[in-house]
Amino acid sequence: MTKILVVEDEQYQRELYALELKDEGYDVDQAANGKDAVELVKTNKYDLVILDIRMPEMDGIEALGKILSRDKKIPIIIYTAYSNYKSNFMTWTADAYVTKSSNLDELKNKIKEVLENRSKSK
């Protein structure tokens, strides 16, 4: 089963993503900040990481760097309320950049897209 790590400090959002993604058939882990996420990545093998940017302790950008420095191949989607970083996301080497909204369809489609691309390139 495809295993996804959701990193999000907003508790209600995180819980809901987990529910929705489980409904989609994914195995979902949760982390409330970048630091926890980096720890989880060390001990678990994830097929995909969904990263918020603004979080306490360690923000998403720092976490992105740390996760990629451990495992360059792990697919990562930035999912944030900031819309103004979108044009710069390529420099962060995340696979995709999705702006938060009340509609999760965009995120779900991106997850599928990213996973398909990865499996094709393998």
């Binding site: 400090d9 209600y12 959002q13 979080m55 900031y82 702006t99 938060k100 909204s101 009340s102």
Partner: protein, 681 residues
């Protein structure tokens, strides 16, 4: 004298001899004299002797005494050369007489030698007065010149003969009312008067004097003595210095270049400046390749010249003040001379005297323009004067123009000194013109930089607005996204017909919480924008600090943070809104507590520095990153996850509304420091 005396003595004994001879004759011829005849002879002899005796007494005694007294009288009257009178008989009186005559000679010698001495002194004094640097002028009660010294004559080029006897008002032209009134008053009262800075105009020369007027009475008649000190040079130098100062000031004050140039030309033509009759300024136009008249100062006619000179000294106003009241629009007289100069154009190709002066970068002194081959026909007609001087305005290595000056109305020869002075003024003019051009281009550059800067500032502002907008968007998007997600979730639950009330309730709770969060954000924003009314009274900043600390005391204990409070005594009060200042301090101290963290230290300090009351809050945290320092006080900027980013922005607004300043910096040994300063009112 001796012979005469002898003769007189012989004459005196002559009757005795005749009588004795007759006695002898009678005795010899044996005709004896009877007693009667002898007695008669004796009596005749006695009478003759008496006669001789008395006439001799008169002649030898009375006359001599008379003569003696006459000579004494002569001596008394100072006639030391005495007539050598005949003194018969010698003797005591004649010795006295001789002594008197000798005394006379002696006295004569003495007085002669004294007179020599007096003459010598008189000569010395005369020489001093005559050749003194001061000017001496003595007039009688009718104001006719009795005496002038050499200095006066040579300075005004008069001969002494030509002056003596002339009325003084005819010597000095123009209306020297101050002088005439003073002379009148001195003549009447005899009280000495000293006049300062009096301009006298005589024989086509004008000079400035300090004049001391006093009265002497000679043989019952009043004479007025005027001792004059020529201060023209001093005045001129003072004037030149003040003019140079004025020009420098003008440049600093950024006044019109025309005004500066006009004051230079005025200086060139003013009596206290260089004293030229006329001055013209020509400037070189590179594009048109010609030299054109720019401005001119000077009278149109001789009558006007006299009038101006008279007016100047009557006003007794220094040129500088006159010039400084000049306005370009009203100051330039539109006389014929002025308009002639301003409308003149000389192409560079003509190679006339001005062009030569400019290309050679050297003054041109033309003594006789009618015959000087360097002066072409056109310029000769234009300038219409025999002698003139042209001085280039040199800046760097090129000439910007030419100043031409002449003495058209009094025909005074142009001295080398005047040309040198004119060159100095020309240098000033050139310097002014160049500085002005530089200043103008500098200003242009400054304007460009300014506009570029304001563009940068504008774009910075836009960037800040962008950041603020992004922050607001982020702040709002998060709760909105959550609310939307949960609303959908609820709808889905209902659509599926599931009766999971808990799930629906949870969703509604989340939505409620997020709505509250949104409301809080909005009210923060509104609070921030609403901050503009204050109740300002005089408060001690220490009171504010203590009050704020008391509010936070428990929190300090709870979070195990040490507060180090140092309040300076006797601080001036600050006109302020107590609660708003408390808000500022509260924000800063709470920020410091967050930064220092558990077991940290927060320092609170008040004081007076550079006549500003300040309070400072220092923490022991990580400090502020350089890129954040500039954004710190921007609304919605925050490094905290649970903050809106308005705390410091609010602080800044309150502080600036109080006329104060807030700054943040990193301490040398870690941690940040926030300082709030208020001016002491």
């Amino acid at each position: 004298m001796k012979k005469r005396t002898m003769f007189v003595q012989v004459a005196f004994y002559l009757p005795d001899i005749v009588f004795l001879y007759m006695l002898y004759l009678s005795y010899k011829k044996n005709i004896p004299l009877n007693d009667f005849e002898f007695l008669i002879g004796l009596i005749i002899c006695a009478v003759i002797k008496l006669f001789l005796h008395f006439s001799g007494f008169y002649y030898f005694f009375v006359r001599r005494i008379h003569n003696l007294s006459k000579n004494i009288q002569n001596l008394k009257q100072g006639k030391f050369v005495l007539p050598d009178m005949e003194f018969f008989g010698g003797g005591y009186l004649s010795d006295i007489h001789d002594e008197i005559v000798d005394l006379g000679k002696h006295l004569l010698k003495m007085t002669n030698s004294q007179k020599d001495e007096i003459d010598k002194y008189r000569e010395v004094y005369n020489n001093i007065i005559y050749s003194s640097n001061s000017y001496f002028l003595v007039v009688n009660a009718q104001y006719e010149v009795l005496f002038v010294n050499k200095t006066f004559c040579s300075e005004f080029e008069f001969s002494q003969q030509a002056l003596s006897g002339r009325k003084i008002k005819e010597v000095f032209l123009g209306q020297n009312d101050v002088l005439w009134n003073s002379v009148e008053s001195v003549k009447k009262t005899g009280n000495e008067i000293i006049l300062q800075k009096i301009t006298l105009f005589a024989n086509c020369r004008s000079m400035v004097f300090d004049i001391k007027i006093s009265r002497v009475v000679v043989q019952g008649e009043s004479q007025i003595v005027m001792v004059m000190e020529n201060i023209t040079d001093r005045i001129r130098k003072e004037y030149q210095i003040s003019l140079i100062n004025q020009i420098t000031e003008s440049i600093q004050r950024d006044e019109e270049i025309d005004r500066i140039l006009f004051s230079i030309l005025t200086a060139v033509t003013s009596g206290s400046g260089l004293g030229f009759n006329r001055a013209m300024l020509f400037t070189y136009n590179d594009e048109l390749g010609e030299i054109s008249g720019k401005m001119a100062v000077g009278p149109d006619s001789f009558e006007e010249a006299i009038q101006i000179w008279g007016a100047v000294q009557n006003e007794n106003v220094d040129m500088v003040t006159r010039v400084s009241s000049y306005k370009v629009t009203s100051g330039i007289r539109g006389g014929r001379f002025y308009s002639d100069v301003v409308s003149s154009r000389f192409p560079v190709s003509s190679g006339n005297i001005l062009v030569k002066c400019m290309t050679e970068l050297h003054p041109k002194h033309v003594y006789d323009s009618w015959n000087d081959p360097e002066v072409d026909e056109e310029f000769r007609k234009f300038i219409d004067v025999r002698e003139f001087v042209a001085v280039p305005l040199v800046a760097g290595n090129k000439a910007l123009g030419v100043i031409v000056a002449d003495n058209r109305f009094n025909n005074t020869p142009i001295s080398r000194e005047n040309i040198e002075l004119l060159s100095i003024f020309a240098m000033q003019a050139a310097f002014s013109m160049e500085s002005f051009t530089h200043l103008s281009s500098l200003k242009e550059q400054m304007e460009k930089i300014k506009s570029r800067q304001s563009a940068i500032v504008e774009s910075e502002k836009m960037a800040a607005v962008g950041r603020i907008a992004a922050h607001i968007a982020h702040e709002i998007r998060n709760p909105l996204a959550t609310m939307g997600l949960y609303a959908k979730r609820i709808l889905q639950t209902i659509a599926k017909g599931q009766k999971n009330i808990d799930s629906i309730k949870h969703g509604a709770d989340v939505i409620k919480l997020e709505v509250e969060r949104l409301e809080k954000i909005l009210s923060n924003v509104m609070d921030f924008t609403r901050l503009d009314t204050y109740i300002k009274e005089y408060h001690s900043i220490n009171d504010v600090a203590e009050d704020t600390y008391n509010l936070l005391k428990n929190l300090f204990q709870e979070r195990k943070i040490t507060a180090d409070i140092r309040l300076a005594e006797d601080l001036p009060l600050v006109k302020s809104d107590f609660n708003q200042l408390k808000q500022v301090m509260l924000n800063l101290i709470q920020n410091a507590m967050d930064a220092s963290g558990e077991n940290g230290l927060v320092q609170i300090e008040t004081g007076l520095k550079d006549s500003k009351v300040y309070f400072a809050v220092k923490d022991t945290g990580k400090g502020i990153s350089p890129e954040n320092l500039s954004k710190l006080f921007e609304p919605f900027f925050t490094t905290k996850t649970n903050g809106v980013g308005l705390g410091l922005a609010v602080c800044k607004k309150i502080v600036t509304d109080h006329g104060g300043e807030i700054l943040a910096r990193n301490k040398e040994y870690g941690g940040a420091e926030f300082i709030v300063e208020f001016p002491v009112t």
